[in-house]
């Protein structure tokens, strides 16, 4: 504890790495705007921010995956720029990405030296390779992993250790960990933390990105908060309370784009009841009820099982346990064809309209009519007139801007493509509408139309289950929000309880008690 104290004393030394005025745009989307960051040797620097705050872009720029549009980077006071991850590695910046980058069919040692294997007479020197791997594994605190074991035979937590060893074998001066602990159990996390603290005492600079507030509280020396692509604040760890940090993360921008919510629908009969739904280790004991006319939100951090829950309800996932009732009748949903049948009446607006929602090269007509072909055909033969009638109606209802029905749907703008995806399901008049982040990557105007449409459908008696990565949307649209964490519902927020603070606090899984405890330890 005393050692840590000395290290957290005010830093007067020059930063090891510094970036200034960094901006990056993807098309029309501003990912980073005039961002700056200083990283010091022998310190752990935590980066905080919501989904889409610009953290990933920042790391990608640092590690040479993407080039910034503007701004400069300095290492040891010298200006640097990286055109590839290999160049960044050479300069001593190594990143451990969120997705595991190991090749399962190769051995641990093969993986560790994969980018630059030791060579002898032009061939890989197995003995040297093994030695490098052993050293790196020992340094990563994973000497129990055998270098010749195949990665696919290792459990996930060991793979993460191998990932760290692989990064260490590249002799980094700056090590970036992007959600490196999200796949680990609590016991593994504490092991990784020991390793990270030792690396810090060895003089490495560590950049740590995590959504887990208590990890940051335990580990970090400095913290920087990003929001909407801008750096909002940098402070010494422990200088701000959790509440203050969350407020920094969400900011205070509000626009009244949401339709008013009606009185609670609690009197209406439940249409979808789900009890103890589980699927592998991704969904655990999910139970909830949706009534007619309700808009239910799914909240939480990205990737906590929300997508799996929607897919499970729609009959896509095999091997789900638990019970689903529709109108009080237990049903076993086995396929999208079954879930969308007349009797069940479900619809799923999928996550990625380009690969899951639409056949981009096919025409607007073919795409729009595709989910409801049985409504416009008799004995498998399509009735063109009935189809034209229904499609024209849908194009008008959703104000889809298209130059006719015969152009490829891929020629439409993103927002209009998304309207096509929604329209094709509305043609079936679904009673239960599942939406998987339906407003991602579309313009504000179309977003607003979608919010109003959802509320209108609910008023007409449909039940809506709606996953969004945008907290504002959940607050503005939903009657209730189920917050998921690690595949389970951690909290249900009803009506006025749905606030940004409550959403974030429950998304990060810090209950009131834990928050209080943390406040005490910080004090």
């Amino acid at each position: 504890m005393t050692g840590r104290f000395m290290e957290t004393a005010p830093q007067e030394t020059a930063p090891l790495f510094r970036m200034e005025g960094i901006s990056k745009r993807y098309g029309g989307v501003r990912a980073l705007e005039d961002a700056e960051l200083s990283v010091h040797a022998g310190r752990i620097h935590a980066i905080l921010g919501e989904n889409g705050a610009g953290k990933s872009t920042l790391i990608k720029i640092m590690s040479g995956v993407v080039a910034p549009d503007q701004g400069r980077m300095m290492l040891d006071g010298q200006a640097v720029s990286f055109s590839s991850p290999a160049e960044a590695n050479k300069a001593g910046i190594v990143c451990i990405f969120q997705e595991l980058s190991l090749i399962p069919e190769l051995s641990v040692a093969d993986n560790i030296v994969i980018s630059d294997p030791p060579k002898k007479f032009g061939m890989i020197d197995r003995r040297a390779q093994r030695k490098i791997a052993e050293e790196a594994l020992a340094r990563a605190g994973a000497s129990d992993v055998h270098p010749s074991a195949l990665v696919k035979d290792l459990p996930l937590s060991r793979r993460q250790m191998v990932e760290i060893a692989k990064a260490l074998a590249r002799k980094p001066r700056i090590l970036i960990l992007d959600e490196a602990t999200s796949a680990l159990t609590a016991a593994d996390v504490s092991k990784v933390f020991e390793v990270l603290k030792r690396l810090r005492s060895e003089g490495l600079a560590l950049l740590y990105i995590s959504h887990r507030m208590h990890e940051i509280a335990e580990l970090a020396d400095d913290c920087t908060v990003f929001r909407n692509g801008r750096r909002i604040a940098t402070y010494k760890a422990g200088a701000k309370s959790d509440t203050e940090v969350i407020e920094l993360m969400i900011g205070r921008e509000y626009q009244n784009v949401f339709p008013p919510k009606p009185a609670a629908a609690s009197g209406k009969p439940p249409i979808l009841e789900c009890s103890n739904l589980s699927w592998t280790d991704r969904l655990t004991d999910i139970s909830f009820t949706v009534r007619r006319g309700e808009v239910i939100g799914l909240g939480g951090l990205d990737g906590q099982g929300q997508r799996e829950l929607l897919l499970a309800l729609f009959g896509v996932l095999r091997g789900c346990t638990g019970e689903v009732r529709i109108d009080g009748q237990p049903v076993k949903l086995v396929s999208p064809a079954h879930a969308s049948s007349e009797k069940i009446g479900m619809a799923l607006i999928p996550e990625d309209r380009k690969t899951e929602g639409l056949m981009l090269p096919m025409t607007v007509r073919e795409n729009l009519a595709f989910a409801a072909m049985d409504k416009v055909s008799k004995r498998g033969i399509i009735d063109r007139e009935a189809e034209d009638r229904l499609l024209d109606e849908m194009v008008k209802l959703l104000t889809i801007r298209t130059a006719g029905l015969e152009i490829p749907v891929g020629a439409l703008s993103g927002g209009n493509q998304q309207k096509v995806v929604i329209a094709k399901w509305l043609m079936r008049h679904p009673r239960i509408i599942l939406l998987n982040d339906p407003t991602r990557g579309i313009d504000v105007g179309t977003k607003q139309e979608i919010y109003q449409l959802l509320r209108r459908l609910a008023d007409q008696g449909a039940a809506i289950v709606f996953y969004s990565t945008d907290y504002d949307e959940l607050i503005g649209c939903c009657d209730r929000v189920l917050v998921l964490y690690d595949g389970a519902i951690k909290r249900e927020l009803v009506g006025a309880e749905i606030t940004e603070h409550a959403l974030i606090a429950s998304a990060l899984n810090i209950g009131a008690a834990e928050a209080a405890r943390m406040a005490r330890t910080n004090a």
Binding site: F314, V316, S335, P336, A337, A339, S340, S341, L348, P350, K354, T355, E356, G357, L358, M359, L360, P361, M362, R365, E366, A369, F370, A371, M373, D374, S377, G380, I381, I382, R384, D388, D392, V395, K396, T402, A403, G404, L405, E406, G410, K424
Partner: protein, 329 residues
């Protein structure tokens, strides 16, 4: 808004092949004309109606087989069991014809049924067991070959084709128009209708484009894939039945020369080898193009080896032109 609706409505009443004249289809037809011009320079009889009708008759056998291949390729799959499905269709139909009057009546349906069964095995393997089509169809081809060799003892079978088979392949109901051409035209018309006007046809294109999107749209994609393979098997076998009728009997390996040309015809006609894109008109053009190419090469007394080399080179060339996936896929 209303005027976009009207243009959409008007365009929709035009048949698919007029709405989108694929550059690949246009190229194929241009190649056909070029081949005819080239051939007529070589020999004046090349443009005679008799010769052209004869070519069309020969083309119709390939046309029937390529129709099935096109269905499968539109799905983004391939059917390599064509050679022995053709042979099985021919041998089983001829064999049935030897079983008295009932056999003669049932010869053609029985031959086709055997092909459908082979196709069904392919379809179940691809759709439900998730075996890559390249593997399973190659395997069923080998099994069909084995079964036929067991049945015939490895020799050319003694059974001969029934009267009906011969009439279908060589006769002409309308004077001057070979029945085989009529049969191909009928099958073609049905295929165009199925592909453009039925839910099955739309699903085939959709699966070829994005199987996942089709599945998530509530289409029973596995059933569609299975049916398409079964239909392809049936059409291959029917091609075999016609060939047996043409030659009066079935023979070992009679289907072998049809695998590469059937794939080539479909691809030359502009159907994407990755699936999801292509029109039947293109396949018609591809079939005629391949048949003319074959005919010219044999008139020029090009040896079989040379012909094979030219097919291969032509397919590669066309793939380079049309088959590569756009970045959006």
């Amino acid at each position: 808004m209303s005027d976009t609706a009207t243009t959409g409505g008007a365009a929709s009443r035009m048949p698919r092949f007029l709405r989108k004249v694929d550059p690949a289809v246009a190229t194929s037809f241009a190649c056909i004309i070029a081949l005819l011009v080239f051939g007529s320079l070589y020999s004046t009889s090349f443009l005679s109606p008799e010769y052209l009708l004869q070519q069309l008759k020969v083309a119709s056998f390939l046309g029937v087989i390529a129709t099935g291949m096109m269905l499968v390729i539109l799905l983004g799959q391939i059917d390599l069991s064509v050679p022995w499905t053709v042979t099985t269709g021919a041998m089983m139909a001829s064999a049935a014809a030897a079983f008295g009057p009932a056999g003669i009546v049932l010869a053609i349906p029985f031959g086709i049924l055997c092909g459908i069964l082979i196709g069904l095995v392919n379809g179940i393997g691809v759709a439900y067991l998730r075996i890559p089509s390249m593997i399973i169809t190659l395997a069923t081809n080998a099994v069909a070959q084995g079964l036929m060799v067991v049945y015939t003892g490895g020799f050319s079978p003694q059974d001969s084709a029934s009267e009906a088979m011969r009439w279908l392949a060589t006769g002409s109901l309308v004077p001057g128009v070979p029945n085989a051409v009529v049969v191909w035209a009928l099958i073609g018309a049905v295929t165009v209708f199925v592909l453009t006007r039925t839910t099955f046809g739309r699903s085939v294109y959709a699966i070829g484009n994005r199987e996942r999107a089709a599945y998530l749209s509530g289409v029973d994609t596995r059933r569609i894939v299975m049916i398409a393979f079964a239909a392809a098997g049936g059409l291959s076998a029917f091609g075999g039945v016609l060939l047996a009728g043409y030659a009066s009997k079935a023979a070992q390996s009679m289907g072998d020369p049809y695998l590469l040309p059937s794939i080539a015809a479909v691809v030359l006609g502009g159907t994407s080898i990755l699936g999801g894109r292509g029109s039947y008109l293109g396949t018609v053009a591809g079939v005629i193009l391949i048949t003319l190419l074959q005919s010219i090469l044999s008139v020029m007394q090009m040896p079989e080896a040379g012909r094979q080399i030219i097919y291969g080179v032509v397919i590669v060339a066309m793939l380079l032109l049309y088959g590569r996936a756009p970045a959006s896929r």
